[in-house]
């Protein structure tokens, strides 16, 4: 595959940075205890979201999990209603009834996210079935973790997507832990990408912190899906720096070793890439500063908006239980 254009490289870097800054803003503000929602942060895992979503248009669909912030930011979501949702405000994208795990934004093809492990894959396959039935040119991408591979829906979804040759790309972010259970305690084989072969679809295992290789592999998979060649599975091996839920690191609690975390932080998907782009003069330090200021401005504006917005009134409890009623 041809080398990436400087423009693409820049976009990949700044998408990752926007995700990183958004998540870091949450860790900064979380101790204020105003953001009363369980946050599942993706610091350390930004490359897969950026590399995959770079190929998607607004019309394409994306499904995610409880750890969805990165995916949706990469898909282009407006961070204002997003942040307001984290603060449980009426102006939140889900009117304060979804919280961090149930973010929605229809203009970007984000139908919502499921916090039940494995469920989003089936929903994504369903959206892809609709694409086929309506003879549209869209693609669906569904993100999930290594824990979801334990679920029956993983197999049910891959089988049906392959059976009907649906335009869906399965992206597994293997961070080696389901909450605190290591992959080795749950899976007899460390071969997630190979499972694709059982369903007759291409499967590839990637360094999940190498954004360019993810970009290339996702490009092929999405192009194939869009042209009717059927689904693919991409396994991105990466690592989450924070605990399963909340802003803290969890090695203090004994969930994993500090050394393991340090080793992965060395392999940060962003730091090395940024150095590389600066060194190769793809970006200048000045441009970097300008773009970072813009990212921080957007995120700070979103926080201010969220904090100033009113809470939903009590009547909101009874709204939207059923569609078509108030």
């Amino acid at each position: 595959m041809a080398t990436l254009t400087p423009q693409t490289k820049k976009e990949l870097l700044f998408t990752m940075l926007k995700i990183r800054r958004f998540e870091e803003k949450i860790t900064d503000l979380y101790p204020e205890q105003q953001m009363k929602t369980p946050v599942h942060l993706c610091i350390g895992q930004e490359a897969s979201a950026a590399g995959v979503c770079a190929h998607l248009t607004k019309d394409d669909y994306i499904f995610s999990t409880h750890r969805n912030h990165g995916h949706f930011i990469a898909k282009g979501i407006d961070v204002k209603p997003f942040m307001a949702e984290l603060y449980g405000k009426a102006a939140g994208c889900s009117r304060g009834k979804g919280g961090s795990m149930h973010i929605v934004s229809l203009p970007e093809g984000i139908f919502g996210a499921s916090a039940i492990v494995g469920a989003g894959m089936a929903l994504g396959v369903g959206a892809a079935l609709a694409i086929k039935m309506k003879k549209e040119k869209r693609v669906t991408v569904t993100f999930f973790g290594d824990g979801a591979v334990d679920e029956g829906t993983f197999h049910e979804s891959l089988n049906f997507a392959s059976l009907k040759k649906l335009a869906v790309v399965f992206v597994c972010e293997n961070n080696f832990y389901a909450t605190n259970s290591p992959q080795s305690a749950r899976q007899s084989q460390d071969n997630i990408s190979l499972r694709a072969g059982g369903y007759g679809m291409p499967g590839v295992q990637l360094d999940g912190n190498d954004v360019e290789s993810i970009y290339r592999a996702a490009g092929q998979a999405i192009e194939a899906a869009r042209s009717g060649k059927g689904p693919a599975l991409i396994e991105c091996r990466t690592y989450r720096w924070r605990g399963h839920v909340g802003p803290e690191c969890d090695y203090e609690k004994g969930c994993r070793s500090k050394e393991e975390l340090a080793e992965w932080m060395e392999k940060c998907p962003i730091a090395g890439y940024k150095e590389e782009l600066l060194k190769n003069k793809v970006i200048t330090p000045a441009e970097y500063e300008t773009r970072m200021q813009e990212i921080d401005r957007q995120i700070n504006a979103a926080v201010a908006f969220a904090k100033e917005s009113p809470f939903p009134d009590a009547g909101e409890i009874f709204r939207d239980v059923y569609y078509g009623t108030v």
Binding site: Y61, F63, G92, C93, S94, R95, G96, K97, G98, H102, V104, L106, F111, G112, S114, I116, A119, M121, A122, L123, G124, V125, G126, A127, A128, L129, A130, I131, M133, K134, G152, T153, H155, E156, S157, N159, F160, L163, R319, D320, V321, Y322, Y323, G324
Partner: protein, 608 residues
């Protein structure tokens, strides 16, 4: 009406409908036709399920559809119930309208994650941005040793989940109309069919039509006992009716058709009439829909029940296989007959005392017509005043046909406070009727009417409560008349003059928050229902010789809303009431005979 009629055998159908040239088809044909017509009329509708395109065609309910619409729209699927439910939901998010068919309801537990955590919640979790127009058809089996995993009726499980709608048609007309309505609804709807209803015939129009979800139906009107029958039990209840009629027992059969939402009003109205209730369900007893129906009545108007309720349900066991055991397991017509008779066996006088009721000192009757701004404050103030004055009391709020949020606001309080109850008038009946209806359900020994407009200060009247040790009626008069307009005061003066001179009394004020001993009110031979009711009661009781006391009372300023007291219709009511009182007072002298109710202070005073 042909579309409400239930035919329990084919000859029955042929004798009536067929003669009139109306089309009759079976339930299975009606379900098939609904799907065929929806596939034709809406290109986003598709059907998926294990075996939907096979030769048996889901007991005939999908026969020929795959041939007509192709296997792209009538999809046989992998045996992966949960994943495929997720697929159907995802497709629904992206604009499709799937019908997921399960040959056995017992397969639905496989799909619980997707139905409960996803389909039911999605609209809510996304703040209404994404709805899930999904229909899940499932079929309850029965007989031939189908046993514990091929004959379950799990409808109550789904009715428990907010966000789902649940329908259970019994007749061909409803089977088609509810399935069409479900497909057009936009929410996840569980269409639960009973296989044993499939061969019943009934009138079904050839065109597309909808039966509203959440609306029940009286299948047969009657006056003695209400029988709420679900799904297949509608037919069993119709059979029971034949037996019971022969014995002179007239049951009313209600088919709720939907269990979520449930047509509680229809059931309540029927039980108000009959006072006796039997529920025949196709599911197990504990935690079932029958229990929910009973709870609905127990919460609102337990006093209408004249006898303990009877449930005809499946026992709390899995379904056995042997025909000998099946025979014992399933309720038969005779069970319904016996249950109906059981409700009639309760001795006259009903079950008074079986619902423990607290004794109350005072019942505040609080009529309210469109008082959303005032009603909650009025209730809260009244409760506080009772506490302050050390009075055990209750409030009977009377929603006099409000079209605003008055009733919801009352409910909000009454749900958490047993001292607050309410009754409802569908249409405004006036302040007098509201008062009397409140008196009828009041549990207190003393009655006072405090309108829900919060204009009256309850402390002002409760502070005189102790005076009831000496009199039977406490009549307040306004000592701060300056808070009212000159016109209003003048009107009041003229009114008082007319009343006092006509009936030779000397009241300071007759339209206030009068405290009555309830027994005194119960004695009255006539109940004036308009704006004149208070004056009418006072004249009649005082003229009879009941002891009363007039007490000074401070009137507050009106805070919100518009008073309904001074208007042309109320003036007419007052004139009518006045003339009636004149007639009774001057031409029916016997009304003035001094007989007091035994627990009145007056009786004690005059007899000793």
């Amino acid at each position: 009406m042909p579309w409400t009629k239930v035919y329990i055998d084919k000859a029955d159908f042929e004798n009536t409908l067929a003669k009139e040239g109306l089309r009759g088809i079976t339930c299975r044909e009606a379900i098939r036709e609904a799907q065929e017509q929806m596939l034709t009329s809406d290109k986003n509708v598709f059907i998926l399920g294990e075996g939907v395109d096979d030769a048996a065609g889901i007991f005939g309910t999908t026969l020929g559809l795959a041939q007509k619409f192709g296997t792209d729209r009538v999809l046989d699927i992998p045996v992966a119930e949960n994943g495929m439910t997720g697929v159907a939901i995802g497709a629904a998010m992206a604009g499709m309208r799937p019908v997921f068919v399960h040959m056995r309801m017992d397969f639905l537990p496989m799909c619980m994650d997707q139905i409960i955590n996803h389909a039911a919640k999605w609209c809510y979790m996304t703040g209404g941005k994404v709805n899930i127009p999904l229909v899940v058809r499932s079929i309850i089996g029965r007989g031939w040793g189908s046993a514990a995993q091929h004959s379950q009726a799990l409808h109550a499980l789904f009715a428990h989940i907010p966000g789902l709608k649940v329908v259970m048609p019994a007749t061909p007309y409803d089977a088609k109309g509810l399935l069409v309505a479900a497909l057009k609804d936009g929410n996840p709807v569980m269409c639960i069919e009973h296989r044993w209803t499939y061969d019943y015939i009934g009138y079904v129009p050839a065109e597309i039509y909808e039966v509203p979800i959440g609306k029940g139906l009286v299948r047969k009107a009657g006056k003695d006992v209400t029988v709420v029958a679900l799904s297949l039990m509608v037919y069993e209840a119709m059979r029971a009716d034949k037996t019971l009629q022969a014995e002179g027992i007239d049951i009313e059969i209600i088919d709720p058709r939907s269990i979520k939402p449930l047509d509680e009003e229809l059931i309540l109205d029927s039980v108000k009439k009959t006072g006796r209730l039997v529920i025949a369900d196709v599911g197990c007893k504990t935690g079932g829909i029958a229990a929910e129906i009973i709870a609905g009545i127990a919460e609102r108007t337990p006093e209408i029940l004249k006898a303990p309720v009877q449930r005809v349900c499946l026992p709390d066991t899995p379904t056995p296989a042997s025909p000998a055991l099946e025979k014992e397991y399933y309720p038969q017509v005779q069970h319904i007959v016996d249950a109906v008779k059981q409700t009639l066996r309760t001795p006259a006088g009903g079950n008074k005392g079986s619902f423990p009721q607290d004794k109350f000192d005072v019942s505040v009757v609080m009529p309210a017509l469109n008082e959303q701004e005032n009603i909650q404050v009025a209730i809260v103030n009244t409760l506080k005043a009772m506490a302050d004055c050390n009075i055990r009391g209750e409030i009977v709020a009377v929603n006099d046909g409000s079209t605003d949020k008055t009733e919801e606001l009352i409910k909000e309080i009454s749900q958490g406070d047993g001292r607050v109850r309410f009754i409802r008038h569908e249409k405004p009946k006036g302040i007098g009727s509201s008062f009397w209806d409140g008196v009828d359900v009041a549990r207190g020994d003393v009655i006072v009417m405090l309108p829900g407009d919060n204009e009256n200060d309850p402390w002002e009247i409760f502070r005189y409560f102790k005076l009831l040790e000496h009199v039977d009626i406490i009549i307040p008069f306004i000592f701060n008349r300056q808070v009212r307009s000159v016109f209003r005061n003048a009107l009041s003066f003229v009114y008082r003059f007319i009343i006092n001179s006509t009936f030779a009394v000397n009241f300071n004020y007759t339209n206030g928050t009068v405290l009555y001993r309830k027994s005194v009110l119960k004695e009255l031979p006539y109940r004036s229902c308009g704006f004149f009711f208070q004056t009418d009661i006072l004249v009649r009781t005082v003229k009879k010789g009941y002891l009363f006391s007039e007490v000074p009372y401070r009137l507050g300023l009106r805070k919100s809303g518009v008073s309904k007291a001074v208007s042309f219709p109320s003036l007419l009511q007052v004139i009518k009431g006045y003339l009636r009182l004149v007639r009774d007072y001057y031409f029916h002298k016997h009304e003035k005979t001094r007989t007091f109710t035994s627990d009145s202070v007056s009786a004690k005073r005059y007899r000793t």
